[in-house]
């Protein structure tokens, strides 16, 4: 079996494999194939001959994906970040030679974390369809999720060339509730809404502005929420977002699953909301362990201390597995919590820590 096949097998059945061994093999390939990465490792005096634990593998910071081509083989898929965080001219590019690992990672984590009753259901997507945005990893994920876990003919993509299509979303919800009897289909049971936090806030604004209340989602429905508000023109505190989702869509916080993922990774992290867990505590799958590192020396921090979130993602075997994100987090029990983001890189000058007058938006 090739390394990629063995990694896929591991993702499918972690107890049967040896994560450390696979990680070191992936590192060896990446070290050999990517000269810039080799240089970083040599600066750190780390190489395949000296590294014995996956946690010793030098991590690549995500901003490096803006200027360096990390891949060990010709890509089958290429994802680009939206540029909301760093600006349109500073988009991360992640070439993925082995999309089967991406799909396998979704298959082994998404259903348990996000599907109502763990089964297929009608899915409303408030993200761009993959056909429209071929370089968006989130669009690809939504497409994959619909393909694998949606109910044929009952899903909806409420996103068009002009952006979020609220009319489409509302029509779909009305149809579920039986209000639009002409188009009513046989939809039974709960549904899944696959959305970014920003799109949800937008949708909720619309619903709340209506004089007549829009129908809620069917009982037991789940909301998959990702993306936060970084780089957006507005922010809604998460607690407020959850409260509004509950009030407007009838989905309680215990049915809102938060996802943490990024263009530079092939694996995702979820909160255990459906299992009754903390709504902001993420858990990592066995093939993508997370560590919290001290920015001073990149040493692992004990639980409760704030540092940079680092991931070793086996599903990234075709590019770079050891990733240093721009997010700040802290470990808590078996999970981790996001607490902020590295923000000092942008131009600040005299407006640093300025207490701004409101932006008026």
């Amino acid at each position: 079996m090739s390394l990629i096949e063995r990694i896929e097998a591991f993702i499918q059945n972690p107890p049967a494999g040896d994560f450390n061994r696979l990680a070191l093999e992936a590192f060896r390939q990446q070290f050999a194939a990517i000269p810039e990465y080799r240089r970083l490792c040599e600066e750190r005096r780390r190489g395949p001959e000296t590294v014995t634990r996956w946690s010793e593998v030098p991590a690549v910071p995500t901003p490096a994906f803006q200027s360096i081509d990390f891949r060990i083989a010709p890509p089958q898929l290429t994802f680009r970040s939206s540029g909301t965080t760093a600006g349109a001219d500073q988009r991360s590019v992640h070439h993925n030679p082995y999309p089967q690992l991406y799909r396998r990672a979704i298959a082994e984590s998404f259903p348990q974390a996000c599907l109502p009753s763990g089964k297929s259901c009608p899915i409303l997507r408030l993200v761009p369809p993959w056909e429209q945005m071929r370089d968006s990893s989130l669009a690809y994920m939504g497409h994959t999720v619909e393909e694998r876990y949606g109910v044929p003919g009952q899903g909806c993509v409420a996103f068009g060339e002009q952006g979020l299509d609220i009319d489409q979303a509302e029509a779909w919800v009305a149809q579920l509730s039986g209000e639009n009897r002409e188009k009513q289909q046989e939809v039974a049971g709960p549904v899944l809404v696959f959305a970014t936090a920003f799109a949800l806030a937008w949708w909720l604004d619309w619903r709340e502005s209506r004089e007549q209340a829009s129908p809620p989602l069917p009982p037991g429905s789940v909301i998959f929420e990702t993306g936060g508000f970084k780089g957006k023109t507005r922010e809604v505190p998460r607690r407020e977002l959850l409260r509004r989702i509950d009030r407007s869509l009838g989905v309680p916080p215990s049915r809102v699953v938060r996802e943490y993922g990024m263009t530079e990774l092939s694996s995702q992290f979820y909160t255990n909301a459906l299992g009754g867990g903390d709504q902001d505590l993420f858990f990592s799958p066995p093939w993508a362990p997370v560590r919290i590192l001290d920015p001073q020396d990149l040493q692992e921090l004990p639980a409760g201390q704030e540092g940079l979130v680092a991931v070793f993602d086996l599903a990234n075997a075709g590019s770079i597995s050891a990733i240093l994100t721009q997010d700040l987090g802290l470990r808590e029990g078996d999970g981790f919590r996001l607490v902020g983001r590295a923000t000092g890189a942008q131009l600040r000058g005299c407006s640093l820590t300025v207490e701004e007058m409101s932006t008026g938006r």
Binding site: E36, Y37, R39, L40, E43, R44, A59, V60, P61, T62, P63, A64, S67, I68, P295, Q296, D297, L298, E306, G307, L308, L324, Q326, L328, G340, R341, A342, T343, G344, A345, L347, R348, G349, C350, S351, L352, T353, V354, E355, E356, M357, S358, T359, G360, R361
Partner: protein, 506 residues
Amino acid sequence: MSTPSPNGSGSNASKKQPSAAAPSPAQRETSPAQRETSPAQRETSPAQRETSPAQRETSPAQQETSPAQRETSPEELRATLLRLQSQGPAALEALPTERLLTIWQQSLEELLDVDSPPRRELQPALVEASRLSPAGLQAGLEALLGGLLGEALRALAKIADHRRRQTPPAAPADPAAPTHPAASPGPAAIVLAGNLPALAAQALLPALLARCPVLLKSPSSNPHFASALVRLLVRAHPPLAQALAATTWPGGDLQREAPLLELATPLVVYGDDATLASLRSRRSSISHPSDSNAIPDLAAYGPGWSLGILAEDALTQPDLARLLARDVALFDQRGCLSLRELWIQADPSQARGFALDLATALAREAEMLPPGPTDPATLAALRLEREVAMLRGEQIHAATPDRLEAGTVFLTTAPEPRLPPALRALRVHAVDDLESLIPRLSPFRGQIQGAALAGEGAWHLEAALEDLGAHHRVAPGRLQHADALWRNGGYDPLSLFGLPASAANS
């Protein structure tokens, strides 16, 4: 009860040590304004003759909670602005320039003197709010306030008086208010940033010299300096209470901002691009008296940074690395006059040697002016920048291996600017040709505030840098020592407050 030092702090203010340790370089590098004893310092201060014994015995910081330390309601804010508008001009016009200079000099010296009662009272809150070390705070205050004293102060006052004589009176905003010669009806509102603790003084001085009443709005995280300065000025000359106010409220309060947008002229704001764009848009919907003349209605100080250029012939200058390290380290690199990018005309070997010297000098600075507490987000950004730089093949020279905030020198042969996070980090570009630098800087027109220049080839670029908006051009080591005449952001400081330069009076 503590007693104020006789005659303010005198000219020794900047020579006192902030601690029992050896004097800091900031204390050794006394500015010309601090070395020269002004007449105001030699004479008994008129302020002391005017103020009552009770006022002299109670330091401003000991007085009851200042308005700046509690939040102001929209109604209070409106009332304050209307009071400044109706009573401020007369109070300021009645204050002779010489007297104003004396009050100003004395107040700033009290704030600079770590042993003065007002400063002693202010010190803990100022250190905490500024997030600078005590030594770093003192060095920063000396750099910033030093340029607002002595000769520079008198030079700006002379220009202001000349322009006041030449400028025809404007129609007062309130018919009941007395006519005054300044063209601006006022009151001005100055919305301050939190990164530089003494920014209020730099913004306030030209307004006072133009006899424009001012409301200072501090960030609620750091209201201390502005309110202390206003209290000291008012203590020294009580009628100034009719012309000056300091206040604060948390940002983002549209209701509270409404009176400012409606009544303040000019509105002077330090903020980021989104904030300034929003203010411009909201402000443009309101008509102001100043719209009809040459006074800017909204002065916006957006994000900015500074650079250094060293020509080949300058690299052997003594102390060059130390001076540049000071330009980086002051205010922990938070100001728009902080050095962030440096171009040197050098071959790779020379450049490497110079980068090492800079790293050593930054390490020394970190001992003399220890960095303040760092926030995890900036620390993380610098860590990421270091890792990315390694991948890009840049050399990284750290001041100390285990403290990122002590200083980082990135050395690259790529000539394009790439600002490192502002945590005493400097990117050095080794280049052959300085002339080709200007086109690469043109995308940053308006953001570049200052330039430290050394060597003939660097000074040769002065006109081009001026064109890019770098109005403060000095030798290394003086970058953060802007004086009262500095056209920050391209604004003539007196024009902002109603005294425009004209062919007749410039």
